[in-house]
């Protein structure tokens, strides 16, 4: 296993070639083979022609690629990347993410990518391990992790999530009803077995909530009144904070691209929130 | 600007205050008794400001570089010669020195300063052998010949326990004496013989040393030195004070030795020639002159001083040599630049260990 450090930790007194040759030399690779392997690694990270440069003559992205090239040149079975993009600005980070995905496909080894940025984790991974206080909470594919978190921590950590805590009041063949304080009975579907009286949580993603100015069609099982308290206009989406008469606060996310949307809500507007039973994800406590 | 002027005024006042009734004496370290200084200060109602040098070369270099402000200097005869040649001295007014009559005529009117136009004798020393009596007696080595320093058959027995002066003129003088020449010989061939002699003896010497051999003798690290008689006297005083089981004695080489007479002279730019003359006359008084001899064991050319000198010093032949020894003493002469260059070339070769 090799590590790519957050600061890249390139050796400033060595050229790009020198940096990449370093692990080969440490592994006592015959000197004659080193230039070829270095060249290969340079090609892998698309830095052909940069071999004679020193780290301080490279851009942030190029340094990153040298660090990866240096880590990959000995063909490790695994690569640990320790928050490698943390120092980059948002645009460059996105580019590097795509590059990392492609690179990983090319070399075909496991990249273990440590990050605190959940969107980065979702974007880059095949599988994500969410760790809390040194304990793995869940290991899953990104979409599974997002849609079916197995614990409150995972639900909360990956993206934003409304966590509706309450007591099960009815449970029948795949549908449960939970009495949520400050909100009322909420229905959700689940494969889990549960019984009335158990404490449980429904994890509800903001984008699953519909908001309408009036009581709308009764397609959705869950329907609640509320008042907009705050909103954040983010261009592509708008995030609304809605407070129910019972004092429960929910967050809802509306895509601004939604066809026909002409109306935006303001703080103080009374709205109806609704979502289908299968929108919430039932969590056993 | 105002402030600058007042500063300047202050500086001028300081300077004039400085120039007022002060005698600037540029002397060897520890070469005048403190009580003598005190007495002179009382008598002349002035202050004696002393600065020190550790060898004539230092004095000459400093004056050649243009140092000023000294009244009286105490150089050795050959340095007096150099200072006269360099035009650094002011002629003395003998009418102001009635005590000059106290000096033994043997030390007056020397070739270094004919008719004493510039200098009067102050004190003297001999360059002789100093030795640890215990160790040298044990080894049965002679102490009355330079052979003990230069001849491998003797000096090998005290290998690493001998130092010689770190001075080319003194060491060449001793070597030339051992070879049977005059210590002021300037014959290049004779110098070459001296170089060979020194080079053969050098492996047995611990060091060329001009400063710390007194201490090394006192503590018993070094058993035999080529050194100055007053330094050897000092080493013995120190050894006795420290309760050492041995004495440091003088050995007088029968081949002869270098006599160094230090003289009082007045610098050409002396700020106070009047005080300088007063001081010189004062130091020519027997009692004042004797105090120095009693303090450091220097030789004394002053006849009037004899009666004040401690008897044990008087009978030391290395301090007060008898007639026979006196006839074998020679004073070093100043050399020409060419001779100095040649001497230094040889000295460098000796020191480089070739």
């Amino acid at each position: 296993m090799r590590t790519v450090f957050q600061s890249y930790a390139l050796f400033p007194h060595m050229t790009v070639e020198g940096n990449i040759a370093f692990p080969l030399q440490m592994a006592k690779t015959p000197a004659a083979e080193i230039p070829g392997k270095v060249e290969e690694a340079l090609a892998d990270v698309r830095l052909l022609g940069f071999g004679k440069r020193y780290p301080h003559e490279l851009s942030g992205g190029q340094k990153q690629r040298v660090a990866i090239g240096r880590a990959l040149v000995t063909h490790p079975t695994m690569l640990l990347l320790d928050e490698p993009l943390a120092a980059l600005d948002a645009k460059l980070r996105e580019e590097m993410q795509i590059e990392l995905i492609n690179l990983q496909k090319e070399v075909g080894i496991t990249f273990v990518y440590v990050t605190h940025d959940h969107t980065e984790a979702l974007a880059l991974s095949h599988r994500i391990a969410v760790m809390n206080k040194g304990r793995v909470e869940q290991v899953d594919q990104p979409s599974k992790l997002y849609n079916f978190p197995s614990t409150r921590f995972v639900a909360d950590f990956i993206g934003t999530c409304n966590l509706l805590d309450g007591v099960v009041i009815a449970a029948e063949s795949g549908t449960v009803t939970i009495e949520v304080e400050g909100l009322g009975p909420v229905r959700a579907t689940t494969m889990l077995r549960t019984a009335a009286g158990a404490r449980a949580t429904i994890a509800l993603r903001p984008e699953k909530i519909r908001i309408e100015p009036t009581a709308a069609d009764a397609v959705c099982e869950n329907r609640f009144q509320g008042t907009i308290t705050d909103f954040l206009y983010l261009g592509d989406v708008t995030v609304y904070r809605v407070s129910t008469p019972g004092g429960k606060k929910l967050e809802a996310l509306l895509a601004n691209s939604e066809a026909g949307r002409t109306e935006f809500f303001e703080s103080g507007n009374t709205v109806t929130m609704s979502w289908p039973a299968d929108a919430g994800h039932f969590l056993d406590s | 600007m105002k402030r600058f002027v007042s500063l300047l005024a202050l500086a001028v006042i300081a300077l004039t205050a400085n120039a007022k009734d002060q005698l600037h004496l540029y002397n060897w370290n520890n070469y005048i008794a403190p009580e003598t200084v005190k007495r002179f200060e009382e008598q002349c109602k002035c202050e004696v400001v002393q600065t020190y040098y550790s060898d004539n070369e230092e004095l000459l270099a400093k004056l050649a570089a243009g140092a000023k402000g000294y009244d009286v200097l105490v150089p050795t005869s050959n340095a007096v010669q150099a200072l006269i040649k360099g035009g650094q001295l002011k002629p003395i007014d003998k009418s102001q020195l009635p005590n000059l009559k106290n000096i033994d005529p043997a030390y007056l009117n020397t070739p270094f300063d004919p008719d004493n136009k510039y200098s009067v004798p102050y004190a003297m020393s001999l360059t002789v052998i100093g030795y640890n009596d215990q160790k040298i007696k044990e080894l049965g080595l002679p102490t009355d010949t330079w052979a003990v320093v230069f001849d491998p058959k003797y000096v090998e027995k005290i290998k690493g326990r001998v130092t010689v002066l770190d001075s080319s003129s003194e060491l060449f003088a001793a070597a030339l004496k051992h070879l049977g020449y005059s210590s002021t010989d300037v014959e290049e061939a004779h110098w070459k013989q001296a170089v060979d002699l020194i080079k053969k003896a050098k492996p047995f010497w611990a060091a060329f040393n001009a400063s710390s051999y007194i201490k090394e003798l006192t503590v018993g690290n070094i058993w035999l030195v080529h050194g100055y008689s007053n330094d050897i006297f000092q080493a013995n005083l120190d050894a006795q004070a420290a309760g050492r089981p041995f004495h440091i004695l003088h050995g007088l080489p029968k081949e002869g030795a270098v006599l160094a007479v230090d003289n009082m002279v007045i610098h050409k730019d002396a700020p106070r020639p009047d005080l300088a003359h007063k001081f010189m006359n004062f130091m020519l008084e027997g009692r004042n002159s004797a105090e120095l001899t009693n303090l450091i064991g220097s030789g004394n050319p002053n006849k009037e001083a004899i009666k004040y000198i401690k008897p044990e010093i008087l009978k030391n032949l290395a301090i007060f040599p008898d007639k026979a020894m006196t006839s074998k003493l020679e004073q070093l002469k100043d050399m020409t630049p060419a001779q100095r260059r040649l001497r230094n070339r040889m000295w460098t070769e000796i020191k480089a260990g070739r």
Partner: protein, 303 residues
């Protein structure tokens, strides 16, 4: 207009004093020395008059003397050798010490630095004389060494008045000049580089030799220059602690100005010494640039 002349005045006020200092205390003496090297020694000492019988007396005699007599070159080489050994031993001693200081916590670090510079608080000559006592034949060190030598059947050796004494004191006196620049450099090193090297398979020695040491080279060169140059010209230590063989170029120069009263030749030797020191410092700087690629790599280590 006024602002502009103010700016110029300000500039001169800033540059002026150091410039004047350099002119007065470096350039002028160097020029005087250079001029003296072409003159003739005076009868009494000093220099003979520059203008004699209407002719300017400048000559190459002293240079000719230096370059035709190999003994001076020999002494020079010997002095360079001593200065090199001093630099090497200082480096070997200072490196672990500087590393220790750089790695210790803030409080210990200040104390250790203080201990390094503490010797400067006492007079140089006193410190040299102290070695006379330490190395004296009756002192514990000499007894111990000679005890061991006697045990293996070797005759006793004197420690004082020897090349050993000169060298040990040269190292002792110059050690802080090596420790301080080394410490200043090592303290800036980025631990992540060593972690990376370890991850890439380097063992402790390889981490030192391939990473720490090359990155510390600017500090090594600065320390080496600070040690080598003064060690090359020193005369007091061989005078006081040296044996009959330990005369160095500094001693020969001193002799020219004192005993021999040959200022021109002394100036020639001094100029050669200065040129040699500059050449060696320049060579070191050149090697430093070559081996590091860039002058800014020490700063980079921090990034």
């Amino acid at each position: 207009m006024a602002a502009r002349s103010d700016g110029r005045l300000g500039k001169w006020l800033v540059i002026g004093p150091p410039l004047a200092y350099l002119l007065v205390f470096f350039a002028a003496p160097a020029l005087i020395m250079a001029l003296a090297s072409f003159r003739t020694p005076g009868e009494f000492g000093g220099l003979s008059p520059l203008l004699e019988n209407g002719k300017i007396d400048l000559n190459l005699d002293s240079y000719a003397r230096f370059f035709t007599d190999s003994i001076y070159a020999q002494i020079f080489l010997k002095s360079v050798w001593y200065a090199l050994l001093t630099t090497l031993f200082c480096l070997l001693l200072a490196y672990p010490l500087a590393t220790l200081i750089a790695k210790s916590g803030k409080r210990h670090r200040d104390l250790l630095l203080l201990l390094v510079i503490l010797p400067f608080w006492s007079n140089f000559l006193i410190r040299v004389y102290a070695w006379m006592i330490i190395l004296g034949p009756n002192a514990a060190l000499a007894r111990m060494v000679n005890g061991v030598l006697a045990w293996v059947g070797h005759e006793p050796v004197p420690l004082l008045f020897s090349s050993f004494a000169v060298l040990i004191c040269l190292v002792y006196v110059h050690l802080p000049f090596m420790v301080l620049p080394l410490y200043a450099n090592l303290e800036k090193h980025d631990q992540a580089l060593l972690d990376a090297a370890q991850d890439l398979g380097a063992n402790a020695w390889q981490r030192f030799w391939r990473i720490t040491f090359p990155l510390s080279l600017p500090g090594v060169y600065a320390g080496a220059a600070l040690v080598f140059i003064p060690a090359l010209g020193i005369f007091a230590i061989p005078d006081i602690l040296g044996g009959p063989e330990d005369s160095l170029i500094g001693n020969v120069i001193k002799q020219q100005f004192l005993e021999t009263r040959d200022w021109p030749f002394g100036s020639v030797l001094s100029i050669v010494l200065t040129v040699a020191a500059l050449a060696i410092a320049g060579f070191a700087a050149w090697v430093a640039r070559g081996s590091l690629g860039t002058p800014s790599s020490a700063g980079e280590a921090r990034a």
